[in-house]
Symmetry: C2
Subunit: 250 residues, 2 copies
DNA sequence: TTACATTTGTTCGTATGTATA
DNA sequence: TTATACATACGAACAAATGTA
């Protein structure tokens, strides 16, 4: 392993180089979710930089929620296990403010050829194969949201319906553990629509009921798109939460 | 001005103390939006801490978008001027992805007694007086969103309709410049609803059209609530954008 | 254009404190 | 108790950007 100093940084900024290498270790799966990365001391040796420079690089990855520091224990790769990052990606709450975990029922699962628009969004070649699955999410025993999800076959090779039904944890945690696919960022676009017949049936709402449609692209490292999702939410008793700065008081 | 070292920090962490004092300088209006705060050298003297400690404190305020650093120029208090933070708070885009500035028309303005629920949300005593105003926002010459806004009279004493009509910049910039009220954070809750008659008229939609209702509380320093807003968005040709991590690539 | 002062950005390293196993 | 790992605090030296004389 050569020192980063040996090759001048492209941007000329050393800590950005360290960050880039750390990011690569994450993307390559050298550092795996839930596991500790090497100690600061070891990373200082590995990268040939000072402790301050290393810290500045790791600081940014921590700020981006990719790593989690624990004083006295080590620095860990973030996971999608319950409580960890779950509510960063599940933004539905009851009108009274209460936020709970949904129960998930797999409604359908099949292989498809991704259509043109989805291929564009996921950066796939035209006609690429993909998995299409539909989950119905319930809160307090009542169906609240439909998730129509498309996953590129290339990234999720061998995915089966049984796996999806048997998964013990969150979907994004399942992506991590079963396929090494790490969702670290999402982009969502929200609209209001009227319920279709299918949605009336699945969510148990009246014809003409207003629903919220959420288009989401989920990204992994290096902004690689890994999931396309259309969620349909019944906001009769629930709402979609958007808040800036979940942590830090000012 | 006494050194921070003279009084042991409550939490025992010096840079948090520095941050707290800096935050107070912002909340007190000692450091005003758009202006430069004292140089690092001066702040080091003022607080009696090392440059590293000072930097760590300021770093957090920069990360929270309260301050903006410019190498060679200084560190400035963030403003709500166009292009600056505007799109952090205006999350509406055209379906084709294009994001533009809306034109705003003041539809109504009056003094009210805030009702109980609004008082709770804004942390006001029961029956507190407030201003109620309604804006209609247009994109590409077409009305797209209605903003129903409530402002506590205590924070916006003397606000007039003429001021609101004459303001050259964004509403939040107007709060800053005219009343020293600095919006730094918002919390929003979104639902889908059917258009009321009033909304049909103002937005030019059909009866039964689905609209998006956005409930927002805006906060200033120390999480003080300063504005209550109910926005109603026509998502026929526009959508509401939610994306994590607007900056930094991973 | 040049030179210079000012201000923030980067990199280095040390010493000590605190949390964990 | 001990070793390990991260957290805080210090500050020096130099680089890069900016504004001005």
């Amino acid at each position: 392993m050569s020192n980063l100093r040996d090759i001048p940084a492209p941007g000329g900024v050393l800590y950005k180089d360290v960050k880039r290498h750390a990011l690569q270790a994450l993307a390559d799966g050298e550092w795996k979710p839930g596991e500790a990365i090497p100690s600061e001391k070891k990373l200082v040796e590995r990268f040939g930089v000072s402790i301050g420079t290393l810290r500045k690089a790791i600081d940014e990855l921590v700020a981006e929620n990719l790593l989690i520091r624990h004083q006295g224990r080590g620095t860990f790769v973030a996971t999608h296990r319950r409580d960890d990052h779950f509510f960063r990606f599940f933004k539905v709450a009851h009108l009274d403010g209460h936020r709970g975990y949904p129960t998930v029922e797999l409604e359908s699962f099949r292989k498809i050829k991704a259509d043109k628009s989805v291929c564009t969004l996921l950066g796939l070649e035209a006609g690429a194969r993909a998995f299409q699955l539909t989950n119905v999410l319930s809160l307090d025993e009542r169906p609240v949201m439909i998730d129509d999800i498309v996953l590129p076959e290339r990234l999720f090779a061998g995915l089966t319906e049984a796996q999806l039904r048997g998964r013990p944890n969150t979907l994004y945690n399942f992506y991590q553990e079963a396929f090494g696919v790490n969702v670290i960022q999402t982009e969502e676009r929200l609209r209001s629509v009227l319920a279709t017949e299918r949605e009336q049936a699945l969510l148990g709402v009246e014809p003409g009921a207003p629903l919220m449609r959420i288009h989401r692209v989920a990204f992994s490292y290096h902004r690689q798109p890994v999931e396309w999702r259309v969620s349909t939410l019944n906001t009769e008793e629930h709402e979609f939460i958007v808040s800036q700065m979940p942590k830090e008081e000012s």
